[in-house]
Subunit: 213 residues, 2 copies
């Protein structure tokens, strides 16, 4: 119970670091490492040991002085906080380059994300499949959602259509939106939106490369 209490205080900054902890802990579990000190973890992951102790302390007492962290326990606890000890029903809206790339990425399936359908506006694509996932008419999105409860939807449509897609998703109970369209979606507070703005990422790179800064 103490751990659940503690979890409520996790800041957005810690949340943003958790997937990276998860990635390194995955590796340690795969390499059958039993325990690791904050100092060793620090050398791998690149955060300071004190930052790591502070972050991990947010969700329970896993570290023991002179012993370090129990890798398996810590890994499970982080999976739990990341919400990936359960599976997710997902769809993709927009079967363009990004939508297809996401549909083809089998790793997400291994992580527990099941893609049930893809929707697009282009009639030429209707009925085609990406792996075993069928592409449907976008007009079928709302009836589909009414019959099939979906947890997470990927939005990979052109910017001008993104908000109207978002509205349909929200209206039909989707609580997580993974948005690749370069717009800031408006959604109720209980719907989580995570953006991947590729152009903005590329511009961050050129900004950093630009010697006048």
């Amino acid at each position: 119970m103490q751990q659940l209490e503690k979890k409520k205080n996790i800041s957005m900054a810690v949340i943003k670091r958790l997937p990276k902890y998860h990635r390194y802990l995955n590796e340690l579990v795969n390499n059958e490492v039993d325990r690791i000190s904050s100092k060793e973890l620090s050398e791998k992951i690149g955060f300071t040991a004190s930052q790591i102790r502070q972050d991990l302390n947010c969700f329970g007492d896993f570290g023991q002085q002179g012993y370090g962290y129990n890798v398996k326990d810590l890994h499970y606890q982080i999976c739990n906080i990341l919400g990936i000890t359960k599976d997710y029903e997902t769809i993709i809206v927009g079967a363009g380059n990004i939508g297809q790339a996401i549909a083809n990425y089998t790793n997400f399936q291994k992580m527990g994300f099941k893609t049930n359908a893809i929707f697009d506006i282009n009639p030429k694509l209707f009925g085609l499949k990406i792996r075993d996932i069928e592409i449907y008419d976008i007009d079928y999105l709302e009836p589909f959602l009414q019959k099939n409860p979906i947890d997470i939807a990927t939005i990979s449509v052109p910017p001008k259509n993104a908000q109207s897609v978002c509205d349909i998703l929200v209206k039909n109970g989707v609580k997580g939106i993974w948005n690749f369209a370069p717009v800031d979606l408006i959604a109720p507070a209980d719907v989580m939106v995570e953006n991947v703005h590729l152009s903005e990422s590329l511009l961050t790179l050129t900004c950093l490369m630009n010697k006048t800064i």
Copy 2:
């Protein structure tokens, strides 16, 4: 000159916000808006007016009290700081789902990013083209770079190959790496690495959706 001096102090936090300013200013330019107050910009972009004034003040005196910002000047200055008033020679290493999606994304070309070649390890892909961009044997990467100076390389290879690709790029003068492989690349300080870790983004979403937090 004062503006150049000022630019040197721009923090990483401001840099991360600049592409978003750029996106909204692009829209304003396209809609032929001449000037905008920090308050109006705040309503559009979602940062506070005081945050906007503070950010934009980092690179010159564009705002005038009671007048607002000159949209065209501010847009140009932000493009300049983002380094996109010039063009970039780029390549893509890894012709999988993500590599192909990036190669197909014509918007980057419109922004001044020219994709010169794609490299992959799979012989079946050699000689094929994505749009007009040819896929070459990864063994040709180093000789290619020696003949063709490249500014930015996208890495979209499996994690286990990403560092060795990075090493070849760095050795041959590539100064910007856009990394989609879920690894933390090691590169010299004068080589900028911008990461797009899709799995981590998806886990951030599930973490936010997870009600126990």
